[in-house]
């Protein structure tokens, strides 16, 4: 029998009877129906599957379910609070920082994690912090601009 795994997901407790060795990405997408987190490469290179684990960006394609036991997981669906978008999400819209949009959940979640660690980044900091998230359409310059303006807005809020 599979073991039960408990963790918090987008501010709600979750208890799953599933094989603890299954990959977190697929548990999120199939068992839990949270399809905002995308599959891009399956090997941790592209960042499409990025989620927050205890507020830090992680590649969910490299995590097993048991790795998040007792932890707090946030997916892109969990960033919106009370109908209000996260400042990073708003900034991505305002800067038109997307094209096909497939990499965007991973970009947004990684940016949120990055700004948690470095709330007042320089442009170079942002480039370094985002460098392992791929975007094939080439929205990079706008994503950098969006993160800079989100940082400015969040500074005001804290």
């Amino acid at each position: 029998m599979p073991d039960a795994i408990s963790f918090r997901l987008n501010d709600k407790p979750v208890r799953l009877n599933a094989d603890p060795d299954r990959t977190l990405l697929w548990v999120l997408r199939t068992d839990l129906g949270l399809t905002g987190t995308k599959f891009g490469c399956g090997d941790g290179y592209c960042g499409c599957c990025t989620v927050l684990v205890n507020k830090v960006a992680n590649r969910s394609c490299l995590l097993k379910l048991k790795d998040v036991e007792g932890k707090e997981v946030v997916t892109v669906e969990g960033l919106e609070k009370d109908g209000k978008l996260h400042p990073v999400q708003k900034a991505f819209i305002a800067h038109d920082a997307l094209q096909c949009g497939f990499c965007i959940p991973g970009q947004v979640v990684n940016a949120v994690s990055f700004l948690n660690k470095n709330p007042q980044p320089t442009r170079d900091d942002i480039v370094r912090g985002m460098n392992h998230n791929f975007c094939r359409c080439g929205a990079h310059t706008r994503i950098i601009d969006a993160i800079q303006s989100a940082a400015a807005e969040m500074k005001g809020a804290h």
Binding site: Y45, C48, L85, F92, L98, C100, P105, V127, R136
Partner: protein, 723 residues
């Protein structure tokens, strides 16, 4: 812009499997209920599409119209198009065109895209054709709808048509603006279906209020919250995820297989039909690990060619030249030349590498198959699937949710065929989502190609002859646009598929197909001739150009950059290139920094100017230019498929390097005012420059002339002039 300019999206719920399945257009009209429906048959749109690409016979259904729109009793306007949204922006720009022509508020316009049951037949979304060829049809439909509304309003308001005007989704009496009636009221109780085949009078560009206004992507909110649905996000009750056995190389034949270890996994179903073997499970990760338990032996043919020997091979198997254009007398030109230079240019196979892998969900109920899939040509996929599962075409419905990048790669529809075959065999809905390794194996790469150029320049710095031959890249962008008296341009082989014995795997269209190869060669060679003539490369181009549009974009780019003329190599690291793609003229100047010890190249700044005729959404057009410049860094600097025979060695992003944040230069885009000319392509043109632009800048920085793409550190080091 701020988020207040953002327009909420009202995208038809395409994921709802209970959406009706009309059997015919008559039934479709019945299902739409009341309202006004406009069909447009503009023959030239179809022929223009077919000219671009001959992909076999067109289906009979629905052959008599290309576009339609509906005005519902609620006043909402719906545009139906076989085009798809993959990031290039028609979900925003098509409603923009429609709203303006119809005098309807933009937020009352909905769009249904890429659904073979609901949308008129379309060849596919590629070749930068949506705005150029579908746009006019849509505008014609809107103009016709507006005419119908004015007729109806005239009766209803008892005012002659000449006295009426339309604005904001209503018709009013110009002498008494309070006497007005909305489009919704006019559509109420109507069952009007209008077919037009002529050319209705369209608005003048100067009357546009919405076209030409920068708009944010309509789909942005859904894409930043994770709500936007791509094919892999569709889940149907009882659905199984399938992982398909992949041979180790193209051309490999299955010799023996033991599927028993996969079948031992609880809940797993194995389906085998000859070489086609798949493992199905409710969870994709379980299906994948069960697939890895299968023991399969393949006979792999001996490798005949690899990424180093491919160019000799391609020259050897090339068919005779097709002359595309010629004029003057090459021999005469040679006599008039003070310098003659002959060079060959090479480029490797390049992957599409969209972030979304090919994905499909198939559901078969009774005699009807419905397939949601990431595709650039839903109607092509419909035909392929129908044939594979033995259904009549009209019993296959392809629905295209958001597509996570295409770049030409999603005109290849194998995943939809796989999903449909498996759904038929399993008797359940099946999702196929390719792994990244599947994607690299099956991808229809941009073909490796060779260009040979022989040319001369006279004592005045004028090009005296130009003899150009391209092998296997295709014709797009091959014809030069300089003012050269003696010239010949010829092509060997197709740029789509090579045919048996040519490429060791699938090849096909890759963003601006052919033109990346051709522009790399032409603009590199022009630079070589400029240096031979002892002239500044911008000055040399201007001296040899007569085409006013090209002169204008080149001068605009040079001015914006702050170009100061100098003969190359000037050690400044500046490069220039220009070209034409999809009717758009484009020129760019770049600044690079070369680490000559490591062979690495950092592009610091790119200024790009474009004449694309009338621009529908200037913000969307700028984004496409930025995307082209950024994506183009990859094929210019790193992207290259390594292979040994039919075995593709690159399987993921560990060895196949895509452009990253740290590569991206400062980008300045300039769209020249040309709104009196028809709109041209925007999703592809700027990418064609990137190879030559960077090659020319590397030469200017170091004197190293790079003749092969990508310009990897190894190749840059090899090309360095010996001290």
């Amino acid at each position: 812009m701020n988020t207040n300019d953002y327009l909420a999206l009202n995208f038809t719920d395409i994921a709802d499997a209970s959406v009706f399945f009309p059997q015919s257009r008559r039934e479709f009209l019945k299902r739409l209920g009341g309202g006004i429906v406009i069909f447009v048959a503009l023959g030239e749109i179809v022929s223009a599409q077919e000219e671009v690409r001959n992909r076999g016979p067109r289906p009979g259904l629905p052959a008599d119209f290309n576009a339609f729109l509906r005005i519902g009793e609620d006043g909402r306007v719906t545009c139906f198009t076989g085009k798809i949204e993959m990031g290039q922006g028609p979900i925003t720009s098509l409603p923009q065109m429609l709203a303006d022509e119809l005098d309807a508020p933009l937020d009352t316009v909905d769009i249904v895209m890429g659904d073979t049951d609901l949308c008129p037949w379309d060849m596919g979304t590629f070749g930068s054709m949506t705005t150029r060829f579908f746009g006019p049809a849509l505008r014609a439909a809107a103009a016709e709808a507006r005419a119908v509304l004015l007729e109806l309003a005239s009766e209803s308001l008892k005012v002659p048509q000449s006295q009426l005007a339309a604005a904001d989704g209503a018709v009013f009496d110009q002498q008494n603006p309070k006497n007005r009636i909305t489009y919704g009221q006019l559509a109420k109780g109507q069952k009007i279906a209008r077919h037009i085949s002529g050319k209705p009078a369209l608005k003048k560009v100067s009357d546009f209020k919405i076209v030409g206004k920068p708009l944010l992507h309509r789909d942005a909110r859904d894409k930043v919250t994770g709500k936007a649905q791509y094919s892999g996000d569709i889940h149907l009750p009882g659905m199984l995820h399938a992982k398909v056995l992949r041979p180790p190389a193209h051309g490999a034949k299955l010799r023996s297989i033991d599927t028993a270890p996969a079948k031992e996994v609880p809940g797993v179903q194995v389906i085998q039909d000859g070489d086609f073997v798949a493992v199905l499970h409710a969870f994709p990760d379980v299906a994948q690990s069960a697939l890895e338990n299968i023991k399969a032996d393949f006979d792999v043919p001996e490798a005949q060619v690899n990424d180093k020997t491919i160019f000799d091979h391609l020259l050897k198997v090339a068919p005779a030249a097709r002359v595309l254009k010629q004029g003057g007398d090459l021999e005469e030109g040679k006599k008039n030349s003070s310098r003659k230079i002959e060079t060959s240019y090479l480029n490797s196979y390049v992957a599409h590498a969209a972030m979304e892998t090919h994905t499909a969900v198939a559901n078969i109920e009774g005699d009807k198959a419905t397939v949601w899939m990431s595709t650039q040509n839903p109607f092509g996929a419909q035909g392929e699937i129908a044939q594979a599962i033995g259904f009549p075409r009209e019993k296959v419905r392809v629905i295209t949710p958001f597509v996570g990048g295409g770049f030409g790669g999603k005109t290849f529809n194998l995943q939809g065929v796989q999903a449909a075959r498996l759904a038929k065999a399993a008797g359940k809905p099946v999702q196929v989502m390719w792994s990244r390794e599947d994607e690299f194996h099956h991808d229809t790469f941009r073909p490796a190609a060779i260009v040979k150029i022989n040319s001369g320049v006279d004592a005045d710095g004028k090009l005296s002859f130009w003899d150009y031959e391209v092998f296997w890249a295709g014709e797009r962008g091959a014809e030069q646009f300089y003012n050269i008296p003696n010239h010949r341009t010829a092509a060997h082989g197709s740029g789509w598929q090579g045919g048996p014995g040519v490429h060791p795997f699938g090849t096909g269209a890759w963003r601006a197909p052919g033109n990346n190869t051709n522009t790399f060669a032409r603009e590199s060679h022009i630079d070589i001739m400029a240096a031979a003539a002892g002239l500044d490369p911008v000055e040399f181009r201007l001296r040899n150009l007569a085409d006013e549009r090209m002169i204008r974009v080149l001068k605009a780019a040079a001015q914006q950059f702050g170009w100061a003329p100098a003969k190359g190599p000037s050690k400044r690291g500046l490069g220039v290139a220009c070209g034409i793609d999809a009717g758009t003229y484009v020129a760019a100047i770049a600044e690079v920094e070369v680490n000559s010890k490591e062979g690495t190249v950092q592009v610091k700044r790119v200024v790009c100017a474009q004449d694309m005729g009338l621009v529908i959404n200037p913000e969307g057009a700028k984004i496409q230019m930025e995307g082209c410049i950024t994506m183009g860094l990859g094929y210019a600097l790193t992207e290259e498929i390594h292979f040994e025979g039919g075995k593709v060695i690159d399987t993921n992003f560990d060895t196949y390097d895509l452009p990253r944040f740290s590569w991206v230069p400062k980008i300045e885009t300039l769209i020249l005012d040309a709104k009196e000319n028809p709109p041209q392509g925007g999703g592809e043109p700027a990418i064609i420059l990137m190879g030559a632009l960077i090659a020319n800048a590397i030469y200017d920085a170091t004197g190293a002339r790079l003749l092969q793409l990508p310009m990897t550190p190894e190749r840059v080091k090899q090309a360095m002039p010996k001290a």
